[in-house]
């Protein structure tokens, strides 16, 4: 018996394949349509649920409340402005009064100040007195201002002289201001 006889006609098989493709196409189209519709509705609903309107309403309410306090708001704003600017000015001020104070404090009682010149960059001073010990103490104190307190630097003793007539020593010192 011959077993190679094909009982199913090739035409029927082709038709079946086409029916299958059609079914797949229809199912795919339906699925895509459903998917697109679902996404469209979902995005639309999400867009609707964003609370822009409620936020804007709250904003308007708060703004109308603040409007009644406008003068206070402006004053408060200016307080902050003044405080910030004052803080900046105070921070950038130089320390001339502190340096002058430190130099005075460093001066022994028996020395007298002949001249002090202080600006933002440099100091120069002339002291006079009858004792070399006090002069030495003053030099030590001024050196300490440079080494420990870091107020001044590059300290130079320019002159140490004796006025024989008045029995007075005089010392001239120059230094740079440490910024």
């Amino acid at each position: 018996m011959c077993d190679s006889i094909n009982l199913v006609s090739p035409k029927n098989e082709q038709l079946e394949n086409e029916q299958k493709r059609l079914r797949i196409a229809r199912i795919s189209a339906f699925a895509v349509m459903l998917f697109v519709a679902a996404i469209a509705v979902l995005v639309f609903v999400i867009n609707l649920t964003l609370p822009i309107n409620s936020i804007k309403t709250s904003e308007e309410t708060t703004l109308s409340n603040i409007a009644a306090l406008h003068k206070k708001l402006v004053q408060y704003y200016f307080v902050q402005d003044r405080a910030n600017n004052l803080s900046n000015v105070i921070a950038k001020r130089n320390k001339v009064p502190d340096i002058a104070d430190a130099l005075l404090a460093a001066t022994p009682d028996d020395l007298s100040i002949s001249s002090i010149q202080i600006d933002a960059k440099q100091i120069s001073l002339i002291m006079s007195g009858g004792s070399l010990i006090s002069m030495n103490k003053f030099i030590d104190n001024v050196t300490m201002l440079g080494q420990q307190k870091k107020i001044i630097k590059n300290i130079v003793v320019q002159q140490l002289s004796l006025d024989v007539k008045n029995s007075k020593y005089s010392i001239s010192i120059q230094a740079d201001v440490n910024k």
Partner: protein, 249 residues
């Protein structure tokens, strides 16, 4: 109609063939059409909606931020005391005037002179650049004064100490003491109020600890103007240099 696809192959496209193809594949037209329409909907409807969602979300964030700022402002304003804010502003305006405060400067010098026992001799004002356009940001205009003093070195140094703790805010830039006389160069600072309009939406924040501490320090400064010459923003004043400040309210 003959369409030449390649040299070796010719396809005959005519009405009968098209009709035959249509008849053969017409069942597929609807699904393919639906898929095409769906793709068009995705491109022209869904993508813009998604884009709009992100835009809206950004908008919501921005609006929420604005609302938070407004609420903070409102809560800060309602919790602050009117009198305290006005007093603080007066104090700070005396310490850093919005314009050249000659009266304040003279009062400060007189006050410190009396307090330290130093006699004030001649003095000279230098006003510097008066162009208001240069006063923005961290530029601080100042009135420079060269001052002659008579007194002991200690008293003159005390004068420098006191003048920098007296309103209006000052900086001693040079000290020159010789014998019983001295000369000082002092800068008295001022700063115009910000000129932009302050709307109800302007953000204000509570004073920082540093600012509160600064307020305390400044309140302890010598103040002559506090008793007699309060400078409150909102009053119209004219300086001797001819510049004027208008009400910010």
């Amino acid at each position: 109609m003959n369409i030449d696809i390649s040299d070796s192959k010719k396809i005959n496209v005519d009405f009968e063939n098209l009709a035959l193809l249509y008849k053969h594949y017409k069942e597929f037209l609807l699904p393919v059409g639906v898929i095409l329409v769906s793709i068009l909907v995705i491109i022209y409807v869904i993508f813009p909606q998604i884009q709009q969602y992100f835009n809206s979300q950004n908008l919501v964030k921005a609006e929420q931020l604005k609302l938070d700022t407004l609420r903070n402002n409102y809560s800060l304003l309602t919790s602050s005391d009117d009198a305290t804010i006005t007093a603080d502003l007066n104090t700070l305006s005396l310490a850093l005037p919005s314009q050249k405060d000659f009266a304040g400067i003279i009062d400060a010098i007189s006050y410190v002179s009396a307090k330290t026992g130093v006699t004030v001799g001649n003095f000279e004002f230098s006003l510097g650049n008066l162009s208001a356009s240069n006063f923005g940001g961290t530029v601080y205009p100042s009135t420079k004064i060269d001052l002659s003093l008579e007194g002991s070195a200690k008293n003159i140094v005390n004068f420098t100490h006191e003048i920098v703790k007296t309103m209006p805010v000052a900086e001693v830039t040079a000290v020159n003491i010789t014998g019983g006389t001295g000369s000082l160069t002092i800068l008295f600072y001022y700063k115009p109020f910000p000129s932009q309009n302050i709307s109800d939406q302007t953000q204000i924040v509570p004073l920082s600890a540093k600012q509160v501490s600064l307020m305390k320090d400044i309140s302890s400064w010598n103040s002559v103007g506090a008793a007699g010459l309060p400078v409150i923003p909102g009053t119209t004043a004219t300086s001797s240099a001819g510049t004027s400040a208008t009400s910010p309210f």
